[in-house]
Subunit: 386 residues, 4 copies
């Protein structure tokens, strides 16, 4: 197989998981702008996700968020998805939207609130059993807003205790992905604020616990690809929540703010053996003002383009330049791949997969957007609160 053929083969195996909640309404604390045609049920979210997969060919699974996607019969939901060409992916827990969680969930000072949160997490594993999902993605809004508000160390003890109970409940082939976040909604301390904290907890928990890197959850200036490298080296990179940001956790389309950074991240993934592994590539975005389905298609394409460029890096030439300490040449080898316009290559890949070369145009022509605007009338639109 030629090198280009290998790159194309790799691109055809790519899988990006889209999140059910990105199809629903979202916004900022100032305002949620509702969009026409937004799904009202988990099933309608899956229908939209199926469109993304139909046009890109590389978005075969859909992450669920509990309770937003709670249904009576998860087996039926899984079947519904498969009939439309997609599968259910990671189960995402929610321990931040009940009034009880004002001061935290599994780190809360009150044992009864911790118990409630833990029961929810255990229920999520029950749902995994029902859906066949292998990944439990845990993000905790836990933290404090004011110095002194709670004891930072006691919160770590509670966190460790809670995670341990959930970990013990995991079955064979199930794992726990622990997400860290620099800040928000907590404004003074966050209980899992950085990769180091997530890593330290996962290490103690065991092999089934791994770290999730959300690309928007870092301090300004953080070298995210270094973290990716390190977690891969430690065998602790569970997956990504992709999105992009100029400032805080803006949750813009991945690759929209800093496409070069996304390329560097994907290069470290490829270099570290994370591409064809169990690392989960997920989106976690908010399409507050742009049309949701095409925004998600664009995001998937952005990941593809960054991956293609990463695969095209001439690693032999790079190794030579690095070994020789030729700073400019080594940088130039990397930039040569980045500066390549990979859109024609990806068009070929799509056509070889039996897809339209231009997913956005094909989606627009499909009439789906008009159809959902016309049909999804009445009911309550899905959003972060439903």
């Amino acid at each position: 197989m030629t090198e280009l053929a290998a790159v194309k083969a790799a691109l055809k195996t790519q899988a990006v998981e889209t999140p059910s909640w990105a199809y629903g309404n979202s916004g900022t604390r100032f305002k949620v702008f509702a969009q026409q045609g937004v799904p009202r049920t988990p099933q309608e979210k899956l229908e939209d996700a199926a469109q993304v997969h139909a046009f890109t060919g590389v978005a075969p699974t859909v992450a669920l968020h509990i309770p937003w996607d709670k249904v009576e019969d998860y087996a039926a939901l899984a079947k519904f998805a498969e009939e439309r060409g997609v599968k259910l992916g990671a189960i995402n827990s929610n321990t931040f939207q009940d009034d009880d969680y004002k001061l935290g969930s599994i780190c809360h000072p009150d044992a009864s609130v911790r118990r409630k949160a833990l029961d929810h997490l255990l229920e999520c594993v029950d749902i995994m059993d029902a859906t066949g999902s292998t990944d439990l993605k845990l993000w905790f809004a836990d933290g404090t807003n004011y110095p002194g508000q709670d004891d930072l160390r006691a919160r770590q003890d509670r966190l460790a205790e809670g995670l341990s109970e959930v970990y013990d409940r995991l079955g064979d082939g199930q794992r726990m992905l622990l997400e860290y976040k620099f800040f928000e909604p907590a404004f003074y301390s966050t209980d899992v604020p950085d990769w180091g904290t997530a890593y330290a907890h996962c290490l103690k928990l065991g092999e089934k616990a791994q770290v999730v890197v959300d690309t928007g959850h870092h301090a300004p200036g953080t070298n995210i690809e270094f973290i990716v490298t390190t977690l891969l080296r430690e065998g602790k990179l569970g997956g990504f929540d992709f999105n992009s940001r100029f400032y805080a956790d803006d949750d813009l389309m991945v690759g929209a703010a800093d496409p070069f950074q996304l390329f560097r991240i994907m290069y470290e993934v490829v270099r570290g053996g994370g591409f064809s592994s169990e690392v989960a590539f997920m989106l976690d975005q908010c399409h507050n003002i742009e049309a949701k389905i095409p925004a998600i298609i664009r995001s998937v394409m952005n990941v593809q383009e960054a991956t293609a460029k990463a695969l095209l890096v001439d690693r032999d030439a790079l190794a030579v330049a690095q070994r020789e300490g030729d700073v400019l040449e080594a940088n130039a080898v990397l930039m040569d791949a980045y500066n390549t316009d990979v859109r024609p290559l990806l068009a070929e890949v799509r056509e070889e997969m039996g897809l339209d070369a231009n997913p956005i145009a094909a989606y627009k022509r499909s009439g789906w957007a008009e159809k959902i605007v016309a049909s999804r009338v009445g009911g309550e639109q899905a959003g972060w609160g439903a």
Copy 2:
């Protein structure tokens, strides 16, 4: 008058404006945690604000937010306030919560949306006429989320045009306070992102236009007191929106995150002649998880403490050390004031004003908290959307 007497006299004249919306519910994009006893009407907000003034003695005015505080009869509202010991303060406009404003208000690409936003601003001046308010506080959520989304320069032209129309509507003794913000809710570009932009527009508009410094609206590391110094020197400091932050626009209690910064800001205010001037000292905070009225009392007290320390700086000794280039001594003179525990001094000031030395304790004893929890049942609690 001795020096200490002068400091006490100055502290007695202090005036901090509290915002009506801080008495209502607020939260993050993840969740608004409702609190018991929260006001349901503008009148109930004024009642709470009157409590803050009753116990601190230095919070005599209340800022209104339109349309959240819209009433039929503003004269009656003003009378209602005065009967409870407070007055109506600045009028704050809202051009970010209508569906029309998804892509902006007075910077929106569509002229009809700009017109709607402008009509709202002009209505705010009408309300000022009715309430006797002298300040129109303008904060625009306008901006873009993605590069290319709109033309940055055309938006500046529209901004200038809109501000100009509002400026021309201002009556004698009325002014326009233009607020800038680094980011949020716009995530790529903001149309008034920094003091320079606000200043440039105000300069062209004329004397009635001045800049508002919201202490939470800056890039990480920004030296806010330098901006205060510069705006005072230019005669363009209209006022403050006080709050504090560790990360983004966290809207925590002023002085809670970095009390030394608040002191430095107040020192520059005092040094630049801004204390006994037309500079408006306003709070703009969100008490998402803490009790609202005592949080506002605490915030007012924090401003008082920073002011007291600023007034205590030995400016003669400071000038000598600065002139001699004695870095350590000059710094030590400033720190000496900062390190002073001014709480006993402020207790004296309060007692001389006929107030309890401890406003928080006095408020707790007053029974107001229990009263509003018991009486404010039913109806819809005030929040950012109401």
Copy 3:
């Protein structure tokens, strides 16, 4: 002329000024790593700069730094440059390396130090008269390290007074470019920390005073292209000091850290009429660990590539999408230009200019690097202190 022909014509007129000091040694506070073949005299710096122009065709001028490039006979130096195919560009002043400047230069509390600094600035204008340079570039390291160290406002007064005296000395066709910087070497306050401060001073000085945007001199997250837009709109953009950074003022090769940002900046330049204007496009970089001449060639090429992409933006299509509020389409139009591989186009441009399509390769083949290593032996290498 077809559109592509127009783009190529524009690219052929591009002019990037290279700084004499980038050819000398530089480093961090921890270490300056000397490189072989580094120039020892202003003349040798000009020889190196001439190589950059010879291979790129768009680096026709060289900025001087006084006193590092002080010579007896500036007319002779100008002639020396012209004989090698380049011209002398902006004169950069230095008021930060004398022991007297420990606490500042024209903002220093001591009048005699201010006088000394001012005399240096006036001497720089004398040099401009001799070299025919039109631009005086002013960057001040002035500031303070500790709160209280000096009076922030008095320093602004001294700054205004000093700038005014220099401004009055400018002849016809000469201008003053005032650079701002967020921090470093001052660690608490900087006397010209942001574009707003530079703008306010330039506005008072008059038409000959304009602002320089150094792309590395901003707070984390700052939207630099917005500043470019605003300064162009105000007629106050004097020029750029190009470089790139991941953290602070790293002074890496322009376009190396965030090529998408450089593209956005160049798009705003083109859109705002700044490309074929008096805006000066200068590099200000430190090649601490990489070979200097090829690093500068690469930097010039990076500016060319960003410019080419900016010129390729389909502004009609962009305007339509923006007018219609089609967020995704407007962003896509911009990204389409950015994602284009413009290297073939620039190769054509170079060949049409009689140059090698690949400046780096051509430079390497030229033998210049080996020649200077062999010949520049003995003497003292140029650096920031010489």
Copy 4:
């Protein structure tokens, strides 16, 4: 013993290590401003450090930096120190100032450079054997300036290998303190950029490897006290390098930029059992423009004041408020300690220790400053390069 007596007793046992290099000249990349009376030899640095201890009573040890403090006979140096009332402390290695280290030291792509760096580190352990020092403090300037310059993961492998060799050389009672740094002098990637990386390496190395927290080495907004809490909880906090910063690694006097942060850090130290433990409290500062000895005295005092406030926190009241979820009261308990003026308490402590209540004034009166200016004439002043 009353509670206040216990606080005073604790304060009397405090030990802050001062760094030999802080007594020498330092600066920024722009300029090193030499000061009169600066030490020229390791012995003279120790004499100055002895002054700091003589007036504060809590600075009993002095950190050495190799090769800056290289001597023939370390036993004699230790004796010299002890005769002046101080002891030799941690040994700090230097792998960043030889020309060989341009692309790194123990992470360098070339094995011979790595060997050289390792030999230096092993020599430092030899010196520890000679001086009786127990701590080897390792800070590596290693990293890269440009994406692609070197292989991030291979550098981690080399780091692990190098650290392991040094670790194995440690004797009984010796430990290795690994320092992390966000950036500088490397501007793209740093090989030990955050606490997580240092922690992961130390964990694998074993019990004698611990993490050092330099308070200036974090991304903007990082919650340092959280890191302190976590490292103490993990048993991996080896010590502090204290200093303060507004922007990057400014190396200002500790407590000068954000005294509230220093208090929060010391509170977590006290709360986590780190105060009377093996945690090393060291300064690592640069007194670029201020007089060095009094700056170090002031820094030691700032640590004392923050510690005193931390010890004064009413932990019982805090625990009650935290348990009850009373956000405002818990914060108020913490702030009550912070707002206390502890200078009178520390004056008492000093007098009870037989010291002057005011160390700065006593030092000024001592005549030491004048003496060293008069006597230290000729020779070469110590600085970062000597």
